[in-house]
Symmetry: C2
Subunit: 340 residues, 2 copies
């Protein structure tokens, strides 16, 4: 049961016996005589007055809100990114509005027109797929947008992305060092931005090291989920016998580990596994999974900072930043020495 009727500047002004301008000034800490300050403070306290955010926004032309749209809320890597973005923008005095876009690309252009209604001051967008027409839409936006992930060619927008090629290369190098040579690959859908990039990374890493590329050693799951990973893993192990697998995702990696152990393979002895994104689940798995950190948290933080920067200086030059990957080695890929 809400009880306190909403109180406005006018009410406070009447009660304090001053003009609304004075009330506004006192509330915003602008210069005023001690006497007025005192009277306004008292009246405001008695009425429990708090300034209205909407009215202020209308006048100021800023909502103090930032919109965040991520494609797949279920994936832990996005949760981590969201968390980080939330931290950064909150500290800067902004609220975070969650705009979940489904996989339907129409959602994204809906989001953009909706953004033009001005419910937020800017947008951070991390799309799974980037259809051609999105480019124009993005550039036509009245409000600043920062993209996490690759852009359509030619689009000039603030942008932060991962270096998937370097990332997969880290994984492959590590596995080769550990004495593995039949390195397979479990990917997500190749028509997504990360799927395409990671496949590209796998192919170039193997060819760069003179390892044979075998079609049977590559599968791609229907999406980046655990469940799809189970099926993909089964398919992979049916059609080849690798001694190591790179997975484009930690979820796919634990799915593979489950399937592999169910088939009697020991990890890492019979099969080394490397995941990607370095989320908590990689660390929590048993055995813990080696994972390539594609810098998701750093990307998130960087994207948030880029947006904040552009909000305070719309003329700032466009930045396109690439975050370098790192490898966290855990038990799932380390070949045990036999003596001891």
């Amino acid at each position: 049961m809400p009880q306190t009727k909403k109180s406005t500047l006018v009410l406070v002004a009447e009660r304090a016996g001053v003009s609304i301008a004075s009330v506004s000034r006192v509330m915003n800490g602008l210069p005023a005589s001690d006497q007025i300050i005192e009277r306004v403070r008292k009246a405001a306290d008695e009425l429990g007055y708090v300034p209205d955010a909407t009215a202020r926004s209308l006048k100021a032309g800023r909502t103090e809100q930032i919109a965040l749209a991520v494609a797949d809320v279920g994936n832990p890597v996005y949760v981590g990114m969201m968390h980080e973005i939330s931290r950064v923008v909150t500290k800067a005095g902004y609220r975070l509005v969650l705009s979940s876009t489904g996989s339907d690309p129409r959602d994204q252009i809906d989001l953009l027109t909706s953004l033009n209604r001005g419910f937020a001051d800017g947008l951070i967008l991390s799309p799974l797929r980037v259809p051609e027409e999105l480019g124009a839409q993005l550039e036509a936006s009245r409000l600043p947008i920062v993209i996490i992930g690759s852009l359509p060619p030619g689009v000039e927008l603030d942008n932060v992305r991962a270096d998937s090629v370097a990332g997969v290369a880290l994984a492959v190098d590590h596995l080769v060092e550990q004495g593995r040579s039949r390195i397979a690959f479990v990917n997500g859908p190749v028509d997504t931005v990360p799927g395409a990039a990671r496949l590209n990374g796998y192919v170039s890493a193997l060819t760069a090291r003179g390892l044979p590329l075998n079609q049977d050693a590559q599968v791609s799951a229907k999406d980046f989920t655990y469940k799809a990973g189970l099926k993909a893993a089964a398919r992979l192990l049916d059609q080849c016998t690798p001694d190591a697998v790179v997975c484009s995702n930690d979820l796919l990696a634990i799915a593979l580990m489950k399937v592999a152990t169910a088939r009697g393979l020991r990890v890492p002895d019979d099969l080394a596994i490397v995941g990607m994104d370095d989320t908590d689940i990689a660390d929590h798995a048993n055995p813990a999974i080696t994972s390539v950190d594609l810098g998701s948290v750093t990307r998130a933080k960087t994207a948030a900072k880029l947006l904040l920067r552009r909000l305070e200086d719309p003329q700032a030059p466009v930045e396109q930043i690439v975050i370098e990957p790192t490898l966290t080695v855990r038990a799932s890929s380390v070949t045990r020495t036999t003596e001891g």
Copy 2:
């Protein structure tokens, strides 16, 4: 580089040669002559006009936003709840604003005064801790609030909570059925709402079944995280030798499993493990973990619906709903038959 200058009702009206009222009417689908509709549509299209959300909010007194505050964004169970709430409110035409409150209880009252600024139309709050003074603050709010979890006594607010006692009872019954008798308990902090409730459930479940309560068989982690769970698990296994453990959380459960297997205990043969919340990690673990679903998703959905209902009917009677728990049995707790 934003390019299209913002266009307003006035601009559209001028271009179409009609009054702003007519433009507004056409945009909102109110009756107008075909001729006016045509002219306005054309002008609006040419200018790329989209109505301003802030101005509309000011006039209407509604922001079409719902605020969500959860204590611990890292915990997967909250992620699932957030996801569900997002779905429900989005479908109803609301945007979701994330207001992360830290563990500091001051954050919560800050949030409440901030809510009174009217940046959202209502709030869904899932607090970890509920200090005394919060009750009054909650009741004094001008805007509707739905609480997920227990309330301070005497506070009359829409509320959805889990039945922890029944939940732990499900777990204990199941373990007893499987022939276990030394059932230990890994809890989170007991000064939190879920921590207190689940401890209560454990104690009453064991006494109800005539099982001995042993202080050595109970530990509580510093918080509900995996890392704290590792320490708590080690402590537990140092001080007693249970044949089954109930964990108040899936994260604590996988931490326990890791520690147990590292000590050479086989799950479930030597140690049965039951988690709580039934999150993805329980299913993804190897072996998969039996878990009590305290209805987190249902609670989230119900809370969202309660809030929507109250928004459209502020006079509706206060609802306090308890969601019944269910048990999902998986490999971690099923005693294998020896023959076969």
